[in-house]
Protein backbone atom coordinates (compact mmCIF):
# COMPACT_ATOMS: atom_id res chain seq x y z
CA UNK A 1 0.00 0.00 0.00
CA UNK A 2 1.47 3.31 -1.04
CA UNK A 3 1.82 6.07 1.53
CA UNK A 4 -0.15 9.11 0.38
CA UNK A 5 1.61 12.47 0.58
CA UNK A 6 0.23 15.81 1.66
CA UNK A 7 2.14 19.11 1.48
CA UNK A 8 0.87 21.68 3.95
CA UNK A 9 3.91 23.97 3.92
CA UNK A 10 3.32 27.71 4.12
CA UNK A 11 -0.20 27.57 5.49
CA UNK A 12 -1.18 28.41 9.00
CA UNK A 13 -2.96 26.20 11.48
CA UNK A 14 -5.58 24.92 11.52
CA UNK A 15 -5.52 24.87 7.73
CA UNK A 16 -3.16 21.84 7.58
CA UNK A 17 -5.65 19.87 9.70
CA UNK A 18 -8.48 20.95 7.42
CA UNK A 19 -6.43 19.65 4.50
CA UNK A 20 -6.01 16.33 6.32
CA UNK A 21 -9.75 16.25 6.96
CA UNK A 22 -10.36 16.82 3.25
CA UNK A 23 -8.34 13.65 2.54
CA UNK A 24 -10.76 11.54 4.60
CA UNK A 25 -13.07 10.40 1.80
CA UNK A 26 -10.10 9.06 -0.16
CA UNK A 27 -8.49 7.16 2.69
CA UNK A 28 -9.37 3.59 3.47
CA UNK A 29 -9.09 2.19 6.98
CA UNK A 30 -5.47 1.25 7.64
CA UNK A 31 -3.99 3.45 4.92
CA UNK A 32 -1.17 5.85 5.80
CA UNK A 33 -0.97 9.58 5.08
CA UNK A 34 2.32 11.48 5.30
CA UNK A 35 2.03 15.22 5.97
CA UNK A 36 4.65 17.93 6.06
CA UNK A 37 3.89 21.39 7.52
CA UNK A 38 5.67 24.39 9.07
CA UNK A 39 3.01 25.82 11.28
CA UNK A 40 4.01 26.01 14.99
CA UNK A 41 0.94 24.27 16.42
CA UNK A 42 0.90 21.55 13.75
CA UNK A 43 1.91 18.62 15.96
CA UNK A 44 -0.50 19.58 18.75
CA UNK A 45 -3.38 20.02 16.27
CA UNK A 46 -2.71 16.75 14.47
CA UNK A 47 -2.52 14.83 17.75
CA UNK A 48 -5.78 16.43 18.85
CA UNK A 49 -7.44 15.61 15.55
CA UNK A 50 -6.21 12.01 15.59
CA UNK A 51 -7.50 11.48 19.08
CA UNK A 52 -10.94 12.80 18.23
CA UNK A 53 -11.24 10.82 15.01
CA UNK A 54 -9.68 7.62 16.36
CA UNK A 55 -6.82 7.67 13.90
CA UNK A 56 -3.30 6.63 14.82
CA UNK A 57 -0.45 9.15 14.67
CA UNK A 58 2.54 6.94 13.78
CA UNK A 59 5.45 9.39 14.21
CA UNK A 60 6.43 13.10 14.17
CA UNK A 61 9.84 14.31 12.98
CA UNK A 62 11.32 17.79 13.42
CA UNK A 63 13.13 18.53 10.15
CA UNK A 64 14.52 21.92 11.24
CA UNK A 65 13.46 25.40 10.21
CA UNK A 66 10.04 24.86 11.75
CA UNK A 67 9.27 21.99 9.36
CA UNK A 68 7.50 19.01 10.93
CA UNK A 69 6.77 15.76 9.09
CA UNK A 70 4.39 13.06 10.34
CA UNK A 71 2.55 9.90 9.34
CA UNK A 72 -1.03 9.10 10.27
CA UNK A 73 -2.71 5.74 9.90
CA UNK A 74 -6.39 6.02 9.01
Amino acid sequence: MAVKQLDALGIKCPQPVLKIAAMLPDMKAGEILEVVADCPTFEKDVRNWCQRLKKTPLWFRDEGGGKVRCQIQF
Binding site: A29, G30, K54, K55, T56, Q73, F74
Partner: protein, 154 residues
Protein backbone atom coordinates in the same frame (compact mmCIF):
# COMPACT_ATOMS: atom_id res chain seq x y z
CA UNK B 1 -27.04 -10.24 29.09
CA UNK B 2 -26.45 -13.70 30.51
CA UNK B 3 -27.51 -16.10 33.18
CA UNK B 4 -28.10 -19.73 33.91
CA UNK B 5 -30.74 -22.26 34.97
CA UNK B 6 -30.41 -25.52 36.82
CA UNK B 7 -32.53 -28.13 35.14
CA UNK B 8 -33.47 -31.17 37.20
CA UNK B 9 -37.13 -31.83 36.53
CA UNK B 10 -39.72 -31.48 33.76
CA UNK B 11 -41.06 -28.45 35.59
CA UNK B 12 -37.62 -26.84 35.45
CA UNK B 13 -37.59 -27.36 31.68
CA UNK B 14 -40.91 -25.53 31.48
CA UNK B 15 -39.99 -22.65 33.75
CA UNK B 16 -36.59 -22.03 32.20
CA UNK B 17 -38.18 -22.30 28.76
CA UNK B 18 -40.74 -19.64 29.69
CA UNK B 19 -37.95 -17.40 30.89
CA UNK B 20 -36.08 -17.84 27.60
CA UNK B 21 -39.30 -16.99 25.72
CA UNK B 22 -39.71 -13.85 27.77
CA UNK B 23 -36.12 -12.74 27.21
CA UNK B 24 -36.20 -13.31 23.46
CA UNK B 25 -39.50 -11.45 23.21
CA UNK B 26 -38.02 -8.50 25.08
CA UNK B 27 -34.97 -8.51 22.83
CA UNK B 28 -37.17 -8.24 19.77
CA UNK B 29 -36.70 -11.68 18.19
CA UNK B 30 -39.35 -12.47 15.56
CA UNK B 31 -42.14 -14.94 16.39
CA UNK B 32 -40.50 -17.60 14.24
CA UNK B 33 -37.15 -17.05 15.98
CA UNK B 34 -38.80 -17.25 19.38
CA UNK B 35 -40.76 -20.40 18.66
CA UNK B 36 -37.76 -22.14 17.14
CA UNK B 37 -35.52 -21.20 20.08
CA UNK B 38 -38.20 -22.33 22.55
CA UNK B 39 -38.61 -25.62 20.73
CA UNK B 40 -34.87 -26.33 20.58
CA UNK B 41 -34.59 -25.38 24.25
CA UNK B 42 -37.33 -27.83 25.14
CA UNK B 43 -35.66 -30.63 23.14
CA UNK B 44 -32.19 -30.13 24.58
CA UNK B 45 -33.25 -29.45 28.16
CA UNK B 46 -35.49 -32.54 28.09
CA UNK B 47 -32.53 -34.59 26.85
CA UNK B 48 -30.59 -33.54 29.94
CA UNK B 49 -33.41 -34.53 32.28
CA UNK B 50 -34.11 -37.84 30.56
CA UNK B 51 -30.57 -38.99 29.77
CA UNK B 52 -28.42 -37.34 32.44
CA UNK B 53 -30.77 -36.72 35.34
CA UNK B 54 -30.44 -32.98 34.85
CA UNK B 55 -27.84 -30.34 34.16
CA UNK B 56 -27.26 -26.68 33.69
CA UNK B 57 -28.18 -24.24 30.92
CA UNK B 58 -26.24 -21.03 30.45
CA UNK B 59 -27.52 -18.33 28.16
CA UNK B 60 -25.89 -15.31 26.55
CA UNK B 61 -28.13 -12.80 24.83
CA UNK B 62 -26.63 -9.90 22.91
CA UNK B 63 -28.08 -7.08 20.83
CA UNK B 64 -27.48 -7.33 17.10
CA UNK B 65 -26.11 -10.83 17.61
CA UNK B 66 -28.40 -13.49 18.93
CA UNK B 67 -28.81 -16.07 21.64
CA UNK B 68 -26.37 -18.73 22.73
CA UNK B 69 -27.48 -21.59 24.93
CA UNK B 70 -24.99 -23.97 26.50
CA UNK B 71 -26.41 -27.20 27.91
CA UNK B 72 -24.04 -29.00 30.23
CA UNK B 73 -24.61 -32.22 32.11
CA UNK B 74 -22.56 -34.84 33.95
CA UNK B 75 -24.53 -37.80 32.68
CA UNK B 76 -23.33 -40.92 30.93
CA UNK B 77 -22.42 -39.02 27.73
CA UNK B 78 -23.28 -39.91 24.17
CA UNK B 79 -21.32 -42.96 22.98
CA UNK B 80 -21.79 -42.29 19.27
CA UNK B 81 -22.50 -38.66 18.43
CA UNK B 82 -22.74 -39.32 14.70
CA UNK B 83 -25.44 -41.89 15.32
CA UNK B 84 -27.26 -39.66 17.81
CA UNK B 85 -27.25 -36.81 15.32
CA UNK B 86 -28.82 -38.87 12.56
CA UNK B 87 -32.59 -38.59 12.21
CA UNK B 88 -34.56 -41.46 13.64
CA UNK B 89 -32.08 -42.67 16.19
CA UNK B 90 -33.26 -42.69 19.75
CA UNK B 91 -32.29 -44.55 22.87
CA UNK B 92 -35.45 -43.80 24.78
CA UNK B 93 -38.54 -41.84 23.98
CA UNK B 94 -39.25 -38.98 21.57
CA UNK B 95 -38.89 -39.49 17.86
CA UNK B 96 -35.13 -39.31 18.15
CA UNK B 97 -35.36 -35.84 16.71
CA UNK B 98 -34.24 -33.92 19.76
CA UNK B 99 -30.62 -33.56 18.77
CA UNK B 100 -30.75 -33.50 14.94
CA UNK B 101 -33.95 -31.42 15.05
CA UNK B 102 -32.42 -28.78 17.30
CA UNK B 103 -29.38 -28.66 15.07
CA UNK B 104 -31.63 -27.83 12.12
CA UNK B 105 -33.07 -24.91 14.08
CA UNK B 106 -29.62 -23.55 14.94
CA UNK B 107 -27.25 -21.24 13.11
CA UNK B 108 -24.43 -22.94 14.94
CA UNK B 109 -24.53 -26.21 16.84
CA UNK B 110 -21.79 -28.03 18.63
CA UNK B 111 -21.75 -31.22 20.67
CA UNK B 112 -18.92 -32.38 22.90
CA UNK B 113 -19.47 -35.59 24.82
CA UNK B 114 -17.25 -37.89 26.82
CA UNK B 115 -18.66 -41.26 27.85
CA UNK B 116 -18.89 -41.39 31.63
CA UNK B 117 -18.20 -37.68 32.05
CA UNK B 118 -21.02 -35.79 30.46
CA UNK B 119 -22.21 -33.80 27.48
CA UNK B 120 -21.92 -30.17 26.48
CA UNK B 121 -24.10 -28.82 23.69
CA UNK B 122 -23.80 -25.30 22.33
CA UNK B 123 -26.75 -23.89 20.44
CA UNK B 124 -26.56 -20.51 18.73
CA UNK B 125 -29.33 -18.67 17.01
CA UNK B 126 -28.73 -15.41 15.19
CA UNK B 127 -31.26 -12.61 15.62
CA UNK B 128 -32.91 -11.89 12.28
CA UNK B 129 -35.79 -9.63 12.96
CA UNK B 130 -36.50 -6.99 10.33
CA UNK B 131 -34.70 -4.26 12.15
CA UNK B 132 -31.45 -6.16 11.90
CA UNK B 133 -32.07 -7.42 8.40
CA UNK B 134 -32.31 -3.85 7.19
CA UNK B 135 -28.82 -3.12 8.36
CA UNK B 136 -25.98 -3.57 5.97
CA UNK B 137 -24.25 -6.49 7.59
CA UNK B 138 -21.27 -6.60 5.30
CA UNK B 139 -19.93 -3.24 6.32
CA UNK B 140 -20.42 -2.93 10.00
CA UNK B 141 -20.68 -6.55 11.13
CA UNK B 142 -23.69 -5.62 13.15
CA UNK B 143 -21.82 -3.11 15.26
CA UNK B 144 -23.01 0.40 15.71
CA UNK B 145 -20.70 3.20 14.75
CA UNK B 146 -20.93 6.10 17.06
CA UNK B 147 -18.25 8.56 17.93
CA UNK B 148 -19.32 8.66 21.51
CA UNK B 149 -18.73 4.93 21.78
CA UNK B 150 -15.34 5.01 20.16
CA UNK B 151 -14.71 3.13 16.98
CA UNK B 152 -11.22 2.05 16.17
CA UNK B 153 -9.96 1.79 12.63
CA UNK B 154 -6.99 -0.11 11.34
Amino acid sequence: MNGSFDIISEEDVLHAGNEISRLTREKGFSILDRIQIRTAFSELARNMVVHAGGGKVQYTLLDDWGLQLVFEDHGPGIPDIGKAMSTGFSTTKSMGLGLPGSKKLADDFHVVSKPGEGTKITFFRKIRNDQVNNKNEGINNGQRHDFSRGERNG
